[in-house]
Symmetry: C2
Subunit: 335 residues, 2 copies
DNA sequence: ATGAAAGCGCTAACAG
DNA sequence: CTGTTAGCGCTTTCAT
């Protein structure tokens, strides 16, 4: 059963003290080469492995970082995880992943669990349903390093990694305008999500820049495939007045395109459609989706980098930083 | 900084011994209701949280389960993770996730890291490139509970959760045959992957069952979108002789459909195409993909269930079990 | 009903 | 150069 060999066992077997073993194993200069190699060889042969738990307890540092993510089954988030995992692995950290399922209670439980596990730092993307930030505030007051990404919490100051959603929204809209569109419908996210607000504000800004009147009826809360179906009639009723659609995410954009085509409209000839995200679905649909590119993998790595910077310089106060990833348009066929 | 309150602090503050605090906190019958509530209330007020690390060290049990997965950015795997995460969360376990990136060395390092962390059990889906199983064997000999899912390792005996890929392949092929096809091309996975072999064998079995001659040239190693593009000419050269295609996974199926359509073939009228997996891309493509349904989320939960069954009955020897998820055809438009 | 003390595996003063 | 000792925070006999 399990690898039970401890440094105590080694010490006994070799007739030395535990501290000598401990030191030899970590190449302490005080130990003679002779004893070192003796101990080292023996440890290797016996396949000795230090007990990480004991180490963490002793050092008050678990060498683990925690991650709270709304949904794992989501291309953007899974790419972020992938980026995070790659870098933490390389740096010798472990990763504990929690899923909030877009639920505030669970998010708060997860946070507590990670703190209980004495993780060295936490990377978070906030749940959609979170409106109360006390759990974050408490963690912040406890002094545990946190970096938020994508869905940041503006109620507390931390390191952040974000897309410039405003610029993304502006860019997408400008792209449509430059293609000659001026009646642009925006399928928007729920207004309580900062990220959705920013994309919408970018949309508004582009309109303003090009002196295009803003019409409230051209902004619809509709950010899922299902919602497109539910709101089909409403959207269709607006279609005769519009020449383009900017959807807040790819799946909404794609659902819209399909709905449009089923109803006899051509994309992009009749209506241009642009999405946001650039997940795997963007390229396998026809027409291929023009969309705003979102670099999940890189954002994940950057989040880890910010965190490590803090963990590696525990006593140096570092100003909170915000890394902004400026999006680009991924030009394909739908717009 | 961090929550530093320990049971020792509480003991001192309240003028009792640490053991009394420890017992009170876990509702030991020996402690009087009075002291219990005294300690309890104080602990609550002071927001006491036990140190999980110390607990794990003491109990020789980390209450954590480990997961090694080839790639997180993959719909099937991320659904499995989601299922695993949901259940482990509910059962009060933590989850450490590692990504092997389809690389044997990294898989083996991950495994060692998890063991070092004294995880209570490990859930694994094997990397594609793994051909040497010593790391698994070693872990197995150490007695650490493992459950393999999907990409199982048949070199060692463990609990397993699998799709009946054979039946899936048979079903898919039979479906095509019943639609009147008899010249069915199979786009297969690399032969060293059990899962791919099984799907292929199912294909062969269906052919046999319906007395359709097996032609080697109708089995191509081609299991990615990229490979479809690379092999485009070869596939196209076979198309005049065939009336259907069974692809080993959805993305290959979809890439094939698109390639076919670009070359003037209609799907399903000229060629029927069926996939395997039923990821999110299956429904957003046109024609919607008929495919074999794979229940990642449920498989994830089942893997956890098997593991917990072992963890909760540590001294009861339980026969290794294999849970088989029988697939069904998800009928849509492409076949 | 409560306390003292040992120990989980390891590190790091402090001695010699 | 090496050993002794005191913890890290918690549980658990064994006393009382």
């Amino acid at each position: 059963m399990h690898n039970k060999l401890t440094i105590k066992d080694i010490a006994k077997k070799l007739g030395v003290s535990v501290s000598t073993v401990s030191r030899a194993l970590k190449d302490h200069p005080d130990i003679s080469e002779k004893t070192k190699s003796l101990i080292r060889n023996f440890a290797n042969e016996m396949n000795y492995r230090p007990n990480v738990l004991a180490l963490s307890l002793r050092k008050q540092k678990s060498n683990t970082i925690g991650l709270i993510i709304p949904e794992i089954v989501h291309h953007f988030f899974s790419s972020v995880i992938s980026g995070i995992e790659d870098l933490t692995y390389r740096e010798g950290y472990n990763l504990i992943i929690c899923q909030s399922n877009e639920n505030q209670f669970r998010e708060s439980t997860n946070l507590q669990a990670l703190i209980d596990h004495r993780v060295d730092g936490i990377i978070i993307s906030m749940s959609k349903s979170t409106t109360n930030f006390n759990h974050f505030k408490k963690a912040w007051e406890d002094g545990i390093p946190m970096v938020f990404f994508d869905r940041i919490c503006d109620a507390i100051e931390t390191d952040r990694v974000v897309m410039d959603d405003f610029e993304g929204g502006r860019l997408a809209t400008e792209y449509l305008i430059k293609k000659g569109c001026s009646n642009i419908l925006h399928l928007a996210a729920a207004p309580n999500l900062l990220i959705g607000r920013n994309r919408r504000d970018g949309y508004l800004e582009a309109l303003r820049q090009y002196n295009i009147p803003i019409r409230e009826k051209f902004i619809l809360k509709c950010d899922t495939r299902e919602e497109v179906i539910t709101m089909q009639n409403h959207i269709l009723s607006l279609v005769p007045q519009i020449d383009a659609i900017f959807a807040v995410n790819d799946s909404t954009a794609i659902a819209t395109i399909q709905m449009l085509r089923r109803n006899g409209y051509r994309v992009p000839e009749d209506i241009r459609v642009i999405g946001f995200g650039d997940g795997p679905i963007a390229t396998i649909v026809e027409p291929a989706l023009t969309t705003v590119e979102q670099k999940g993998y890189d954002m994940g790595r950057e989040a880890v980098r910010l965190l490590l910077q803090r963990l590696n310089n525990p006593n140096v106060p570092i100003d909170y930083q915000t890394r902004v990833f400026t999006p680009t348009i991924k030009e394909r066929e739908s717009a």
